[in-house]
Symmetry: C2
Subunit: 245 residues, 2 copies
DNA sequence: CGAGCATTTGAGTCTCCTCAACCCGGGTGG
DNA sequence: CCACCCGGGTTGAGGAGACTCAAATGCTCG
């Protein structure tokens, strides 16, 4: 069961990064151990030195930093088939924390085992580099989102990103399960929970979305996309550039 | 003259990423061509497909995205010895633009030449991956900065980062030359130019900084650091993790 | 059925924005 | 050599979006 979850997750990652089959096989052969983290539990702690690297198998998670006055900023969300801490392969200390959004299963491998494999397999290194480039592109878009959009657009944009990353089906009335509270949305968009609440109510009353009890429904994708000024180019869904040129 | 600028820039990058000498030599041997960009000129255009990769030799530059209503968000600043578009090696399209802050000199190399070299030299791939990991860490901190700090703290934090990246000398009264307008600072912190102006005046009147005509002086580093809630961990100045573990 | 968390509501406030005008120094051209 | 122009900086007044504080409501789970 867990083994099959691992396969699914690794396959998803390999497909996204266009990792060759033999490198995927090598990755799959690593001595992963299973780890379960409950809701709100820490997956990675800020300030510590990383010793392992983990892939999310089920559940969801988010990166965060806290500022001096105690306020929290969420920096990204993560879903099954994503590495949580590729940066730990090369960075000496964790500059931020990662927490479970809902209960999570992780496949953990010692950092040194992974770095050894990377040295042997250039295609794997390339796939990981691609992964962190895409992550960087998402961070850039988040800077824009929290910096230059109003409340409505911030939330609309965030929901669009989550929807695209969770599912590429283009049908209307997309439905997603996400144990996301309004406080999470507030911390991800740089707003307060109260104002987030009022803004979401606005979107609901216009019939654009439903959002309650961990269930997000997007009723009018085009409208939401337009309100959120959303363009999915930055997600680089089409994979790494393959031009030989 | 230009050749020596290139050497200085490559050396700086190699030192930061701890690139072995022989890989640096291989990098230096690439057929770079020189390019000059005037103030505010585009170095990389959003939406285009990258065909080359460039290192900044002199001057300074910034990444930016514009949102639907025309507002601009600056996402990062760049200085000599930094690659401007490592992401172009693997991403198919530019999801943002890069502009010259002041007049710039660049060393440009075709993307394919660089990617060929990367395939031959794992240590170079590793150094580039490290570079983009650090860039990602900076983006994360920027999300926090624009999302969860007030005007004073935003500007103080930005100036602290620029100071550390421009110079690691620990002396008080650090002086920096930067062709930075208040509008740039506004766009980098997600504020308006008017409010940026008033906030800077506040910092000036308290004797913390001088900032005029492209000259930034930090009179009280500790105070500025404290106001900006600045901790340089995220800049990962100590280079890639070297543990074999 | 109560505990605890998430959501909702209200009222008052403040930070930051908008718009508009003015200043200032440096470069240019008559 | 002075007048003008222009980009950047500064100032003022008014407004609005978002925040704070506080309390009430509603869900879900023991």
């Amino acid at each position: 069961m867990t083994q099959s979850l691992l396969d699914v997750a690794l396959n998803r990652w390999a497909q996204r990064t266009q990792l060759p089959a033999e490198d995927l096989a090598a990755l799959r052969a690593l001595p992963f151990t299973r780890r379960v983290v409950e809701r709100d539990g820490f997956i990675i702690r800020e300030g510590e030195r990383p010793t392992s690297c983990s892939m999310l198998l089920s559940g969801s998670a988010f990166r965060q930093k806290v500022v001096h006055n105690g306020a929290r900023q969420i920096i990204s969300f993560h879903f099954p088939g994503e590495f949580m801490d590729l940066q730990s392969c090369l960075l000496a200390a964790n500059d931020h924390g990662v927490q479970a959004l809902g209960a999570c299963e992780l496949a953990v491998v010692p950092k040194s085992v992974l770095t050894d494999l990377i040295e042997q397999r250039p295609a794997l290194a390339r796939a990981m580099w691609f992964d962190t480039l895409v992550e960087g592109a998402i961070f850039r878009e988040w800077v824009v989102n929290v910096g230059r959009r109003n409340a409505r657009a911030k939330i609309a944009h965030l929901l669009c990103e989550l929807a695209v990353r969770l599912d590429e089906s283009a049908s209307d009335d997309k439905i997603y399960r996400l144990p996301l509270t309004q406080e999470h949305i507030a911390d991800a968009t740089g707003m307060t929970a109260v104002h987030t609440n009022r803004t979401i109510q606005g979107l609901r009353q216009e019939g654009l979305i439903s959002l309650a009890q961990g269930r997000l429904v997007i009723h009018d994708w085009n409208a939401l996309r337009s309100i959120g000024d959303f363009n999915d180019l930055y997600l680089h869904r089409s994979g790494p550039s393959t031009e030989a040129a």
